[in-house]
Amino acid sequence: MIYLDNSATTQPKEEVIQSFQLASSQFFANPSSIHPLGGRVEKLLFTAKQQVAETLGVRREEIIFTSGGTEGNNTAIKGIALEHEQRGRHIITTEAEHPSIYDTCISLKKLGFRITFLPIDENGLVSVEQVENAIESDTILITMMYVNNEIGTIQPIEAIGNMLKQYPKVFFHVDAVQALGKVPLKLSDSGIDLCTFSGHKIHGLKGTGMLYVEKTTTLFPLMHGGNQEFGVRSGTENVAGAVSFVKALRLVMEQFKQEKQHLIHLNEVLREGLSKLEDIVIHSPSHGAPHIVNFSVLGVKPEVIIHTLSEKDIYISTKSACSSKELDESRILIACGKSHEEAISGLRVSFSYNNTVAEVEQFLKELHTAIEQYKEALG
């Protein structure tokens, strides 16, 4: 199998599964129980947070375990909106967002919030000036992704964060789901107040993730109850999930440190190979994240390519998996100014550190064959 759909989900690492299994069977008590079994589990959770804090250079109290990216983004956006609406009801985001930001912002319109969707350029980028110019006196939140899930654009998060230090009343939320372990990320003193992560994009398990909430930032909780996770996310903690997420995080950060060149190399091999084929347009910007390459094969329906490749046990995707069941054009590619034809035919290849050059070469070969076959069949 050649699996090149790692931005949709990654294969969980064996160590991560073991960690989940062990934590589920041996540390099953409720961490809120005051007996010693509960105490052990609470200690485990505490230690897990300590480790995240060390890995990401933040404070233990700034970490909220969640069920993943969608929950993280919803908690951050609705949490800020509902908690701080007296201060203002204006939110800024971009046209390039994942549905868990885009649709969350739209849902807030019904509650009377105003949303500015910043346009993106042909590379999927917004500029610091655009963001600054959009700030109004009642702006409370800027929410955007760090790395685009469809085309891999890296937004200038660091520069925006620095600019926003001059606007202390505006919260800054970053969706780092596609960025984690692939591009550099600095949280403390970055101007970022909230940051979303997901486990299953870093070889962890689905249903695990984390939200960073800078210590002075307060949120209106989506879920009320037993005050777990500092009251921001009530509900008995998914200890095994959290622990397995922390394991996955540690492993991916080690890989990022040691092997980031590998992803860059895979990207180069793929781009070079694609450039030799006819009728291919690469949509991903050349300075984007190394693990995502989005392109169209003009004149060939993307689904056909996906099915043909699947027969050879090679897996890639169209657009993002989260919206790939919709049959329309890619909202992101349209926002980048691509034509309708290009926007309905985007294909996405996404790497993990486990992919090899040989796999990329094999993919290129089979892609070439698939295109030839299709053209031949159509005469």
Binding site: I34, P36, G39, L44, T47, A48, V243, K247
Partner: protein, 400 residues
């Protein structure tokens, strides 16, 4: 050109007379201890200053560590250049350009070595002129500049800095001897320990544990608090006293309203014994005047009778809110507020005497011999050494 040094300024320590060297050597040792795990980093001393040589390391994580080392008043990122006019000009320009938002600046040259041929005043003008011609829209303001570019021409090299980061000050931990901190797990005692450390004190801690009435988690909480305190100093020994039997005996044998006073006297007696064993010369406590029954003037007078060791009470005059703010800032608050009972909250008389008298306590105590139980208690003390680096619970290792 790049910031490759961190310049460290001493605060109060600089006022010390002949023994300043001891303070400086201790500070150097403490700094080294905190940052030795960064590869290639060196801590060097020169006249009146200390430098950390970054050797290619990112400065931010090192600065984060240094901020918590007592004895450092402030620090700045610095470039080291040769003692030549050209090099100094280039360095000063780099330092100014690093401050992107600056609109105004001033230059302050200090010539520690008079070997350098150009006098400080003249050098000021040369550099000011150089910076003005090589930047756009930045002007000189000698009274309230956005940036002060500081140039120190020393014998071995010239160091150039701009901003400065304020640190905690105080005295290097270990220069004022050892003290035994009575650590309960509440909000106050860790803050008291922190403040004692700020005055150069090296801590050991004592905790009174009453199983099965108090849980392992209460004990763990104290160990966690201790670990947070190690961030500001060195490893800390915690002496865990099995207090249950003695506590029960006190409450059984002594009048209820005086039991708490007597319990606290026992705590001081046991603490003094640890001090003798460990060659510690003082006790540190989180007591605060008027906060609870055991902390009235009369109570302290009565409790204090059993020891003639100095008791450091850094919180004595603070408001609760001030203490909470410090505990939040130093990272102990979240742990302190975990709701586990400790030995002081479990055995609480219905109406403790807020104005106990020494004569009465002595009279009650004379009716019962606590010595055997006290000796047994002291024998059962468990000592745990807590270091800054978390030693992970072995059964968690595979999981995380």
């Amino acid at each position: 050109m790049n910031y490759d040094h961190i310049l460290i300024r001493y605060g109060e320590m600089a006022l010390k007379g002949k023994n300043i060297k001891q303070f400086i050597i201790k500070l150097q040792e403490n700094i080294h201890q905190k940052i030795k795990h960064f590869e290639g980093v060196k801590v060097i001393r020169t006249q009146g200053r200390m430098f950390v040589l970054l050797n290619g390391n990112e400065p931010e994580p090192i600065i984060e560590k240094l901020k918590n080392v007592f004895g450092i008043h402030s620090l700045s990122l610095a470039i080291r250049v040769e003692n030549s006019e050209e090099q100094i000009k280039e360095g000063a320009l780099y330092a100014l350009k690093k401050e992107e938002k600056a609109k105004t600046f001033k230059v302050t040259v200090k010539r520690i070595t008079k070997d350098f041929p150009i006098p400080s005043q003249q050098m000021n003008q040369i550099l000011g002129g150089h910076l003005l011609t090589n930047t756009d829209g930045i002007t000189v303001n000698v009274h309230e500049p956005d940036v002060e570019v500081r140039v120190e021409i020393r014998k071995e090299a010239t160091y150039i800095t701009s901003g400065s980061i304020r640190c905690r000050g105080g005295l290097p931990v270990g220069t004022s001897g050892k003290s035994l901190l009575l650590l309960s797990g509440g909000i106050d005692s860790p803050v008291a320990g922190f403040l004692a450390m700020k005055r150069g004190v090296q801590l050991e801690a004592i905790h009174f544990h009453s199983p099965p009435f108090t849980s392992e988690r209460a004990k763990q909480k104290v160990l966690d608090l201790t670990q947070t305190l190690t961030k500001y100093g060195k490893s800390i020994k915690v002496h865990i006293v099995p207090f249950t039997k003695l506590q029960q005996e006190i409450f059984r044998e002594m009048p209820n309203d005086y039991a708490m006073t007597i319990m606290r006297r026992m705590m001081f007696r046991i603490s003094e014994r640890i001090c003798e064993q460990e060659e510690i010369l003082s006790l540190t406590s989180g007591e605060n005047l008027g906060q609870v029954a055991s902390q009235t003037m009369q109570s302290m007078h009565t409790i204090n009778e059993v020891t003639n060791y100095p008791i450091i009470r850094p919180l004595i005059a603070m408001d609760k809110q001030e203490v909470i703010e410090i505990s939040q800032e130093i990272g102990t608050y979240e742990t302190s507020i975990q709701p586990y009972e400790d030995c002081c909250t479990i055995f609480v008389p219905k109406s403790p005497k807020t104005k106990p008298k020494r004569e009465k306590v002595n009279y009650y105590e004379s009716h019962h011999d606590f010595t055997p139980t006290m000796e047994e208690t002291i024998k059962g003390i468990e000592t745990i050494k807590i270091t800054e680096k978390t030693v992970m619970d072995q059964s968690f290792e595979d999981l995380l």
